[in-house]
């Protein structure tokens, strides 16, 4: 296990290196931040632009700028935003919890709904209940997330005026963005739980458990669900990573003060330090989650623990 962990950590470091290098390089191809900063000026000359570039440190060689970024990472210094000069770390400190909270709430809601529904669909296979769950899941899968978000806003914020259309102003603000993501996640998760459960129910130990005369609830939740756990944990873990990417769109629609909104504004303003930081943080998160998923295997499956 220790050897495995060391290997995975080294792998993670390499991935972070490649991601940061790619991002730093690619963003510098997108255009000149100096021009963005002076958009209201009109009468900007080449000399002015050069002066601003110098102040931002953009006239130095790419590798120097990249090294500054990387070495700053180790001490938690992401530099300063081009838009106003705030330390980027302050922006991340506020945006990261907002994004994580939203992602966790969405995933937890989705798991809490899809496990019972998936099991129900598996045990009632072929009945109208199974059909209904599958049809709803297909409908959920067919919604583009931003469309669903806009429909929810139209209905609950504008027509009924029940929920705030945007911002993060307390628990109420979570309802629509989390529901949007949970609906789409649940659509896939129900199908996954159903399939995994069906396979498990066909196995011999379930037959044995039933033959012993155990109640159906014990068979399902104690024996079968435990054995479904590995593929499901893997999937939910990876899904969390994907979720962090998908959240960018949802955050924009709901003006959620998270990493997605931050990244979006940074792209629009060519704010290199902020964008670099957001992408680095996101990639670190995804790598960490993958690592946690591996460790979680050991916790749920004694066979892996002892190997």
């Amino acid at each position: 296990m220790a050897k495995f962990l060391i290997y995975r950590v080294l792998q993670a470091i390499f991935v972070v290196f490649v991601v940061t290098l790619t991002v730093s390089f690619a963003i510098r191809l997108t255009g000149d931040p100096a021009l963005m900063l002076s958009q209201g000026a009109g009468s900007i000359t080449e000399a002015d632009l050069e002066r601003i570039r110098e102040a931002l440190g953009l006239n130095r060689p790419f590798l120097v700028q990249y090294w500054e970024f990387i070495s700053g990472l180790f001490v938690g210094d992401f530099g300063r935003s081009f838009m106003g000069g705030t330390p980027v770390i302050n922006l991340i400190e506020r945006a990261l919890p907002a994004t994580l909270m939203l992602a966790i709430v969405s995933l937890v809601v989705s798991i809490a709904v899809s496990i019972p529904l998936g099991i129900k669909a598996a045990t009632a296979r072929g009945t109208w209940i199974d059909q209904a769950i599958r049809i709803f899941s297909l409908i959920g899968l067919s919604f583009p997330n931003f469309w669903l978000a806009i429909m929810l806003v139209l209905l609950f914020s504008i027509t009924f005026r029940l929920l705030p259309p945007s911002g993060m102003e307390g628990p109420v603000s979570f309802i629509m963005p989390a529901a949007t993501m949970a609906i789409i996640l649940t659509a896939t998760n129900v199908r996954l739980v159903r399939t995994t459960m069906l396979e498990t129910l066909r196995s011999q130990y379930v037959m044995v458990a039933r033959a012993k005369g155990l109640s159906e609830t014990t068979v399902l939740y104690k024996h079968a669900l435990r054995n479904c756990a590995i593929p499901l944990i893997t999937y939910f873990g990876l899904q969390f990573g994907g979720l962090l990417g998908g959240i960018v769109v949802i955050e924009r629609v709901f003006n959620w003060p998270g990493l997605g909104t931050l990244a979006f504004q940074a792209v629009a303003a060519r704010d290199y330090p902020v964008l670099q930081a957001v992408i680095t943080v996101l990639s670190l998160l995804i790598i960490a989650i993958n690592l946690l998923v591996d460790i979680a295997y050991g916790l749920v499956d004694p066979r892996i623990r002892t190997e």
Partner: protein, 506 residues
């Protein structure tokens, strides 16, 4: 059953919590961009000004009517043939922190702007004509200029020339001032949450009288549909430009308690010509292209009437615009004849370069291409990422035969457009070089006599129209979405919305 009950309870609770916060005298505004810094000399963003025009004052003041009136200076006098301006300052004015406003604050403001601190920002270059600010006495200053700057008095009404408090900055440092601005304006700063909101409250001791409102909150909402949803839900009172696209006008107007208020903005759109390559090298071909396009139809349909046709590269509010000037009329038959004379065969091609993120202009460009096909020119529309177009394609002279240029400065002075677009060697003039035009452009910069300068700027406008250097399209309106409970609201053409007189109904 219990789930249903919980859900109902949650929704009920939610409805209480999300009820529009119509507190007495509180106004909420949606702004599309957080400048990230409130120091007047660190940014040059329109949405800095739309907030900060309430926090700071300049020596001069220019409101929605674009007339220049006294601000922190009560009067001024031009001396030494325009190279020295003497300002008499308003007495008894204090900054929000209690610090007095005087000649020393003016000197400090401009030394800071023109010195090291200003050098790292985009504002300095606008004020380089100022050589020195000399304190004559506590309430008199002399601006010594290296050369006359005819637009200086206007430029003193906004952006980098806003007067800042010397003691406050020296005691708290630049970084603190960036995030906690203090000025002499009608509203004082309360709190700022980066990328989310900034809150201001009335400054009771403002020299021009206390504002009617108690508090103003600006929320930064980038996505237009989200800003409009907040307006529809009654949680935002005003959505300021540039946010609302023409496509959303009907959504807002359909709701009974909301209105669209529009006003001519500084921005004009033109399709400029590549005068060095392709069929547009020929002046007659350029004129034929202009004749082929029915701009009024484009304005009435695609822009839903929210624009004015223009005759040169400036709007009707611009200093230097000549209302007498006649546009080249829409006449596809004459255009065909002109093309034939110029020896252009049917099937000739042009490429129109546009900004890819501008959906409305994309439609306009398609309409232009359709009009050109009527006179036998095959036009293709080439969208570029905006920054690529502005950084690499136009300045490098790599455009097609025609390219989109949106322009206009908050000063509403044609010099700001004409010099940069037409003078030889300028960044935005990659193709043309005209000695006669250069001479006119240089001449108008050296004189401060307004009438003479206006005559010259009009002459420049006429000259460029005669040479058909661009298809002058239209001056777009700035669109404000406003809740009807907002009273005494006057839309500002330059987005610098001062809220002193605004009230809200309960």
């Amino acid at each position: 059953m219990t789930l249903k009950k919980t859900l109902a309870a949650a929704l009920l609770a939610a409805s209480v919590l999300s009820a529009p916060a119509h507190a007495a005298g509180a106004l909420t505004i949606s702004s599309p961009q957080d400048p990230g810094n409130w120091d007047p000399i660190d940014t040059f963003l329109v949405n800095w000004a739309s907030v900060a025009t309430n926090i700071f004052d300049g020596l001069t003041y220019r409101g929605p009517d674009l007339e220049l009136v006294p601000g922190l200076a009560t009067e001024w006098e031009e001396l030494d043939e325009g190279t020295r301006i003497r300002f008499t300052l308003r007495e008894g004015v204090t900054f929000h922190n209690g610090e007095p406003f005087n000649a020393e604050a003016v000197r400090y403001t401009f030394e800071r702007l023109l010195g090291e601190e200003g050098a790292s920002g985009p504002q300095q270059s606008n004020y380089t004509a100022i050589e020195e600010v000399e304190v004559i006495d506590d309430y008199t200053v002399d601006f010594h200029l290296s050369e006359p700057d005819p637009v200086l008095l206007t430029k003193l009404a906004g952006y980098g020339a806003m007067i800042v408090p010397p003691q406050y900055i020296e005691e708290n440092g630049e970084d603190h001032f960036d995030m906690n601005p203090v000025g002499t304006g009608p509203f004082k700063f309360v709190s700022y949450q980066e990328r989310e909101s900034i809150e201001l409250e009335a400054f009771e001791d403002h020299w021009d009288g206390a504002p009617e409102l108690d508090t103003v909150t600006y929320r930064f909402i980038t996505e237009p549909s989200t800003a409009v949803a907040e307006l529809q839900a009654g949680r935002v009172d005003i959505v300021i430009p540039p946010t609302i696209p023409v496509g959303m006008i009907s959504t807002i107007e359909e709701q009974e308690d909301l209105s669209i208020v529009s006003v001519a903005s500084p921005t004009v759109q033109a399709l400029r010509f590549n005068t060095a390559n392709g069929i547009t090298e020929n002046e007659d071909v350029r004129k034929a292209i202009i004749m082929a396009i029915d701009r009024q139809a484009i304005i009435d349909t695609i822009l839903q009437g929210e624009a004015e046709p223009i005759t040169s590269f400036q709007g009707p509010l611009s200093f230097g615009n000549d209302p007498e000037m006649e546009p080249i009329p829409y006449d596809p038959e004459a255009a065909k004849a002109l093309l034939q004379e110029a020896g252009v065969e049917p099937g000739a091609t042009v490429q129109i370069d546009v900004r890819g993120n501008d959906a409305t202009f994309g439609e306009v460009a398609q309409a232009v291409a359709a009009y050109l096909s009527v006179i036998g020119i095959n036009a293709t529309v080439q969208p570029y990422e905006t920054n690529v177009l502005l950084n690499d394609i136009i300045p490098e002279g790599r455009t097609g035969e025609m390219f989109q240029q949106a322009w206009g400065g908050w000063t509403f002075d044609f010099d700001n457009t004409a010099y940069l677009m037409y003078h030889t060697g300028e960044r935005w003039n990659p193709y043309d070089s005209d000695a006669e035009l250069d001479a006119l452009l240089e001449e108008q910069r050296s004189i401060t006599d307004r009438a003479e300068r206006e005559r010259l700027l009009k002459e420049i406008a006429r000259y460029t129209a005669d040479r058909a250097l661009e298809v002058p399209l239209y001056n777009v309106n700035a669109l404000y979405g406003v809740n009807d409970r907002v009273q005494n609201f006057e839309a500002a053409p330059d987005s610098r919305l001062r809220l002193t007189d605004v009230t809200v109904e309960e």
